[in-house]
Symmetry: C2
Subunit: 208 residues, 2 copies
C-alpha cells in the first residue's frame, strides 16, 4: 500500500529532527514537530515547554515510577498523572493529524500510536556516540555536563517514556521499517533513502 505518513524516531544528537524536516520539504509533506507541540498546547492548555519535556521524556523521580509500573505522582486524578493525560491528548491529536493529511511526524511515539495504519513508514535515526556528542555541542553549546552524559541521560529518558507508554523497546530494530546510521551515511543520504522507500511500491512479485 502506498505510504502517506512518515514517523521519525531518533537518538538524541543523531540529526533525526533535521532529517524529518528535510524529508517533509523534499516530499512536500506537512511537518509536525514544534507545530505538534503548539497544537497540543492549544488543545490542552499545557505550556509548550512542559509538553516538549513531558511528551517524550520520563522525568526525574517519575522515571523510576514508570519503570516499576506505578505513577508515584502526588497530583493524580483517577490515577492519571499530568504525563498520562498529556499522553492521551497527544495520541488523540496524532491520530487526527494522520487521518487528515500526509505528513512527517518527529518523535512522540508516533510510530506506536499509528501502528495499525498500513500507510505509515516508520524510521529510526541513530549515530555513533562521538558524532552525536560533537553535534550537540555544535548545536546547543557546551554545558557543565559532559556531552556523553547528556546523550545518555536524554536517551535513557526517551527509552523509559517509550517503554512506559507503548510496552515496547525504544530503538528495537523490529519496530521500524528503516533504521539508518546518520553518522555513517550522512543526513542527506538518509533523506534520499527514506524518500525512495516512501515512494516505492512493495514488490508485486516475490523473488526466490
Amino acid at each position: 500500500m502506498a505510504k502517506r505518513i512518515i514517523t521519525v524516531s531518533r537518538e538524541f544528537g543523531s540529526g533525526g529532527r533535521t532529517v524529518g524536516r528535510l524529508l517533509a520539504e523534499k516530499l512536500n509533506l506537512k511537518y509536525y514537530d514544534k507545530e505538534l507541540v503548539k497544537r497540543i498546547s492549544l488543545e490542552t492548555g499545557f505550556d509548550p515547554g512542559y509538553i516538549e519535556e513531558h511528551g517524550e521524556y520520563a522525568q526525574g523521580k517519575s522515571a523510576l515510577a514508570y519503570l516499576f509500573g506505578g505513577t508515584g505522582h502526588p497530583d493524580f486524578m483517577n490515577g492519571m498523572t499530568p504525563a498520562d493525560f498529556l499522553w492521551c491528548m497527544q495520541r488523540k491529536i496524532i491520530l487526527e493529524i494522520a487521518d487528515k493529511e500526509p505528513c512527517v511526524i518527529v518523535g512522540r511515539c508516533a510510530d506506536y500510536i499509528l501502528k495499525d495504519r498500513p500507510d505509515v513508514l516508520n524510521v529510526f535515526i541513530h549515530a555513533p556516540k562521538p558524532q552525536r556528542a560533537e553535534r550537540i555541542v555544535k548545536l546547543y553549546g557546551e554545558s557543565d555536563v559532559a556531552p556523553e552524559k547528556r546523550l545518555d541521560d536524554k536517551d535513557a529518558r526517551r527509552r523509559v517514556n517509550y517503554r512506559h507508554f507503548t510496552g515496547r523497546d525504544w530503538g528495537s530494530v523490529q519496530n521500524y521499517h528503516l533504521a539508518l546510521d546518520s553518522g555513517a551515511l550522512g543526513l542527506e543520504t538518509c533523506v534520499d533513502l527514506i524518500a525512495a522507500a516512501f515512494r516505492a511500491e512493495p514488490d508485486a512479485k516475490e523473488t526466490k
Copy 2:
C-alpha cells in the same frame, strides 16, 4: 569513505540471503555465502554441513554453555572447542576476503569481524513473523515443527552464537548502518535502497 564491502545479517525467513545475492548481481560484487562455506571447508577440513550449522548457530547443549561463558565441551584443545576453532578460521578467511576484493558477505558475524574497516556497509534485514513464516514454508516446505517455532529456534541460536563470539546484541539497531523491514518494503526495494546507500558519498557538508 567509499564503500567496498556489504555485510548482510538477517532474521531467518526475512529473505536477507536473497537480498544479498541480488545486491551482488546489481553492484557486480563477488557474493559470499555458500562460497564462503566451501572455502572454509577447503582450508579447515570441516564438512560443509558442519560449517553451515556451527558457523552461525549455537548448538543444543553448547547454547547453554555459550550463555554462561564456558565451553562445556568434552573435546576441547587448550580450552578451544571445534566451534571456537571454526570461528577463528572463519574470521581469518573473512578478513582475507575483505582485503582482496569488493564483495557481499551474508551472515557469519561479518559485520563484527570487519568492524574496524571504514569501507564496510553493515545491513540487517528483518520482517514481521507472519511473513517470515509464510516464506519459510514456501521455500523449505512444511515440517513437524510449526513455522513460528522454527523461526524462534533459528533466531535464538543465531542470537546466542553472535553474543558469544562478539559480545554484542544480534539485531541491535546500533550495529548496522541500515536495518530494513523486507516484509513492509519488499525485497527489491531493499536491494535498491542498500545499493543507493553503498554508492552514496557521505555528506561533505553538515546540515543544521
